[in-house]
């Protein structure tokens, strides 16, 4: 995916974009005048207004529900790792509280060859864009964006009333838009992989939204966060009491507008003396290809990725080193 804007000079950074905006010539406006000013650190560094943690009932797809089983010795099988990052900053036009968010998103597959990670097909996907509620911007500012040949992605849905809103709400809309763009890149990469390669791909996060890749036997999603726990009643105790190298019985997740997936919890590291989510991941594979044996097999693959440890990342107990490598790689570029 190409960036959403590109200049003749070749620059695509936010500074290049701001310079282009500043130099854009529009009737009745002085070129060179200040257009937008930066406001604070990256949005990803500020707490997001996330949905509250919740328990979600599930449909078991294995017999002996609410039990655990040891998956066996780790086996190295993943050929590549997929992850993406995003970074966004808010800007404000002079005298206007409507945030204009510049978001950069990137995704990469790092392929493992001879125990060393390389960028698959030698290129990551990187995209830059401005996000704003266009109806709330001044016509002069919109004109300046047009003159500078910089598109703005509208954060308001068609039909939304262009009323004044709380700036924080507008920021959240923009932030979600950036996230969707990042997910789009990840999906595009995942589909490219499963369309062309015949080896397992370790995907950071769930795969139910991964389009064709969500149906591929070569896609394995590993979810590290547990704001939504697919458990209720006794099954919660089963999850939090998992031993190292053991998994729960699998269940089906069938979200709206997304593909159904088979999922189970897996304990990567010994959590004795630690919080109940230490080393706990949730695995997603295509529903169609699920069997109990496959769940054990995939679990063994994931266990093999506990080493090397992805320290100093704070999520090291659940993060595969290949995923950390993807993030570090992308941070160096973005």
């Amino acid at each position: 995916m190409a960036s959403t804007y590109d200049f003749a000079e070749g620059g695509t950074s936010i500074r290049d974009a701001l310079r282009a905006l500043k130099n854009a010539s529009i009737p009745g406006d002085e070129p060179g005048s200040s257009i937008v000013t930066a406001a604070g650190p990256a949005l990803e560094l500020t707490p997001a207004d996330t949905t509250p943690p919740r328990l979600e009932p599930v449909t078991p797809i294995e017999q002996q529900t609410n039990s655990t089983r040891s998956v066996g010795e780790p086996v190295v099988a993943f050929a590549a790792f997929l992850d993406g990052i995003q970074t966004s900053h808010a800007y404000y036009a002079e005298g206007n509280s409507t945030p204009i968010v510049h978001g950069t998103v990137a995704a990469v597959i790092r392929q493992r060859v001879n125990r060393t990670l390389h960028t698959w097909r030698s290129v990551p996907l990187i995209s830059h864009a401005f996000h704003a509620p266009v109806a709330l911007l001044t016509p002069r500012l919109v004109a300046r964006f047009h003159a500078a040949n910089i598109p703005i992605e509208d954060t308001l849905e068609p039909g939304d009333a262009p009323d004044e809103r709380h700036p924080m709400e507008l920021l959240a809309l923009a932030r979600n838009a950036v996230q969707r763009r990042r997910e789009a890149l990840e999906i595009a990469l995942a589909e490219s992989w499963t369309d062309s390669e015949k080896e397992p791909l370790f995907i950071d996060g769930g795969i139910s939204a991964a389009g064709r890749a969500s149906q591929s036997e070569f896609s394995v999603g590993v979810v590290k966060s547990h704001r939504t726990l697919y458990a209720a009643g006794d099954s919660l105790k089963v999850i939090t009491g998992l031993d190292e190298g053991a998994r729960t019985t699998a269940f089906e997740i069938r979200p709206k507008y997304r593909s159904p997936v088979a999922s189970w919890y897996l304990r990567l590291r010994d959590a004795r003396g630690r919080d109940p989510f230490f080393g706990l991941v949730r695995v997603e594979v295509a529903r169609a290809s699920f069997t109990s044996e496959r769940a054990d097999e995939v679990s063994r693959w994931i266990l093999a990725e506990r080493s090397p440890v992805s320290l100093p990342d704070k999520r090291w107990s659940t993060m595969a080193y290949g995923i950390r490598d993807c993030e570090e790689y992308l941070r160096a570029l973005v």
């Binding site: 125990r115 060393t116 990670l117 320290l311 490598d325």
Partner: protein
């Protein structure tokens, strides 16, 4: 030209005009001492600057933030988790010292760009060798081969900066026992003889062999010279053969029969010559041997008087001397002293020509003692056998073997030979225009501390002014820090073999990076770090094993001659002039002569090199008539006394 790495600069590690940093792949052939070329990405004045550098430091690290994380990753078990499916991200980061900017101006910090291994041409440009390797004006002297990856580029020294007049002198440092210092000099002399431009004049070398048999077999081919060495010779265009023109000089042993050298095997005797001096030669350098605390101003005045007014001329003093004296040898000087002191005693005189009798006795004691202290070198009879001053040959090596001599005699030999070289070079009548003087153990002759000796003063003089004359000092020592700083400071070129870590910790090596110092302390045989005026930074080179027989192998192949009788020694000495001389003939010729007389006759014969050796030698011996047996005269029988007449006689 493949890309080896990329320049990187951070606020913590910024690039400067003299240093830059770059990263490479883990398997890149970069190491300490590698010469690299940076092609900048940012044009300056319309051109992309090119920067050449030599790697002086290397860093490697992973994405682990602290060692504790690594320990945690292995659960505290160093041997555990060997099957990790992914290698940690690891980086190789190098620091390079800038050798050259092209263009030279404006001098800016090294900008971002791609890093490449230097090719042959790049090495020439980086080391500024392109300035003196131009066709028609090539003054390059190969010093070794720079190697990195697939690159193997000859490195040349500039003859104008090695042998003068621009700069001169060479200093070699290295630990003992690895044959680096001597081997490097032997190799470099061969290289100079092969490449020194003829239009720059003739060049010869005088080497002082100060220990063991190191330089005793320069004219003999090496026992082992493998294919790699031969390839180096070929690449550097130097013939892999021993020196063609070598002469050896050594004093006699104290006994005076044989020469005091480890090159005493008869098979090698053809170019070994005695080094002997008489009174005149020694007196010029008396201060080398006389302790300044011992010889005060009064004694000095008397020695000057003797040098100016007594030696080599008719000297008379009817009041004190019984006869006229012509002093030309230590023996005659002793007779002169004896006559003078006898005359003074007779007349009960306390002084003679303002010199007190005690001073005269003291000077007599010190001067006549020289011939004892330097026995074998100094002759009582004044016979002189010396280096061929005035007839030095182009590309010849003159080895003076002083390895077995006392320190005093070594000092005397060194001082006189170097002074003679200097005098002849000043007069332009030495026979060559450039002389390389090689001295090992420089920290002994020119120490950084200790008393100010004649030898040290002379070495300082050569170091500071020799290049104008063509007198070039090649000096070697184990500890450069212990050599007088003016001597090493004036050496335009410096070579370093494997160095002692303690020595490397001295301030003189502070300009070298820690990695370069570490490499120096573990350097292989045959490798050198070269510093030269044209090189902005020192570079590592590899040189071939010398194509001459090493001292250790030489003494095995040519064992020392057994101790000889007087007759055998004379036979051997005279056979160098006339191979018809036999031991039987010598025995017959010297049968009646005193030992001292025989040795004197030998010395004179060797000095004169007559056509008829036998006749000349016999003529030097006093004529003696063999005693003949004579019959006893008939005895007269005693008269018998009468038995009966006691008075009857």
């Amino acid at each position: 030209m493949s890309i080896l790495g990329r320049v990187v600069a951070t606020e913590r590690k910024p690039n400067t005009p003299h240093e830059f940093h770059f990263w490479t792949a883990l398997d890149s052939p970069v190491g300490i001492g590698t010469i690299v070329k940076v092609v900048s990405a940012q044009p300056v004045s319309g051109a992309l600057p090119v920067v050449y550098g030599v790697v002086v430091e290397g860093f490697g690290y992973t994405d682990v933030e602290t060692p504790l994380h690594e320990v945690l990753g292995y659960d505290g078990e160093p041997g555990g988790d060997l099957g990790a499916p992914t290698r940690r991200t690891e980086i190789r980061l190098y620091s390079a010292a800038v050798l050259r900017h092209v263009p030279e101006e404006p001098l800016q910090p090294v900008s971002m760009g791609t890093v490449h291994l230097a090719s042959d041409e790049d090495v020439a440009v980086a080391l500024r060798m392109d300035g003196y390797l131009t066709p028609g004006a090539n003054t390059g002297i190969p010093v070794g081969l720079y190697r990195s990856g697939a690159t193997a580029s000859p490195v040349y020294l500039d003859a104008d900066f090695l042998l003068g007049p621009e700069a001169a002198h060479l200093n070699i440092s290295g630990v003992s026992g690895l044959a680096t210092k001597t081997s490097a000099v032997e190799w470099l002399l061969a290289s100079i003889f092969a490449h020194f431009p003829e239009k720059k004049g003739r060049v010869a070398a005088v080497c002082f062999n100060v220990k063991g048999p190191d330089l005793c077999f320069l004219d003999q081919p090496a026992a082992k010279l493998d294919d790699a060495d031969r390839a180096l010779y070929e690449r550097l265009d130097v013939p892999a053969e021993p020196f063609k023109d070598v002469e050896y000089y050594a004093p006699y042993t104290a006994k005076g029969y044989a020469l005091n050298t480890l090159r005493s095997n008869e098979a090698l005797a053809h170019n070994v010559k005695p080094l002997t001096w008489g009174l005149r030669e020694v007196l010029q350098y008396a201060e080398v041997l006389l302790n300044k605390d011992d010889v005060d101003a009064k004694a000095d005045a008397l020695i000057d008087f003797i040098k100016e007014r007594v030696v080599d001329q008719e000297f008379t003093d009817p009041k004190y001397l019984t006869s006229a004296h012509r002093v030309q040898s230590f023996g005659e000087l002793e007779r002169w002293f004896r006559d003078l002191l006898g005359g003074m005693e007779k007349q009960n005189a306390e002084s003679w020509r303002t010199h007190h009798v005690a001073t005269i006795r003291k000077v007599r004691n010190r001067l006549t003692n020289i011939s004892t202290r330097c026995r074998g070198l100094v002759t009582d009879d004044g016979t002189v056998s010396d280096l061929p001053f005035g007839e030095f040959r182009d590309r010849a090596v003159y080895v003076v073997d002083v390895a077995n001599l006392e320190a005093d005699a070594q000092d005397l030999i060194f001082s006189r030979i170097v002074s003679q070289l200097r005098e002849h070079l000043e007069k332009r009548d030495l026979g060559v225009e450039h002389v390389i003087v090689f001295v090992d153990e420089l920290n002994k002759y020119a120490p950084s501390d200790g008393p100010d000796t004649y030898v040290r003063a002379m070495l300082l003089d050569i170091a500071e002014r020799g290049r104008y004359l063509g007198l070039v000092l090649f000096a070697a020592q184990q500890f450069r820090s212990q050599v007088h700083r003016r001597v090493v400071g004036n050496s335009g070129t410096a070579l370093f073999g494997r160095m002692d870590p303690d020595e490397l910790a001295t301030p003189g090596y502070a300009t070298l990076s820690p990695a370069t110092r570490t490499k120096l302390s573990t350097l292989e045989k045959g490798q050198l770090l070269v510093r030269h005026p044209h090189f902005s930074q020192p570079v590592f080179v590899r040189f071939p094993r010398p194509a001459v027989l090493s001292g250790r192998e030489g003494v095995e192949r040519f064992p020392q001659a057994p101790e000889q009788t007087l007759e055998e020694a004379i036979t051997r000495a005279l056979r160098a002039l006339d191979n018809t001389v036999t031991l039987e003939w010598v025995k017959d010729a010297v049968a009646l002569a005193e030992e001292e007389e025989v040795l004197r006759a030998r010395n004179r014969t060797l000095q004169a090199k007559p056509e008829d050796v036998k006749a000349y030698f016999r003529a030097q011996l006093k004529r003696r008539v063999r005693s003949e047996a004579t019959g006893n005269p008939p005895r007269q029988p005693l008269k018998k006394s009468p038995t009966d007449d006691p008075y009857g006689f």
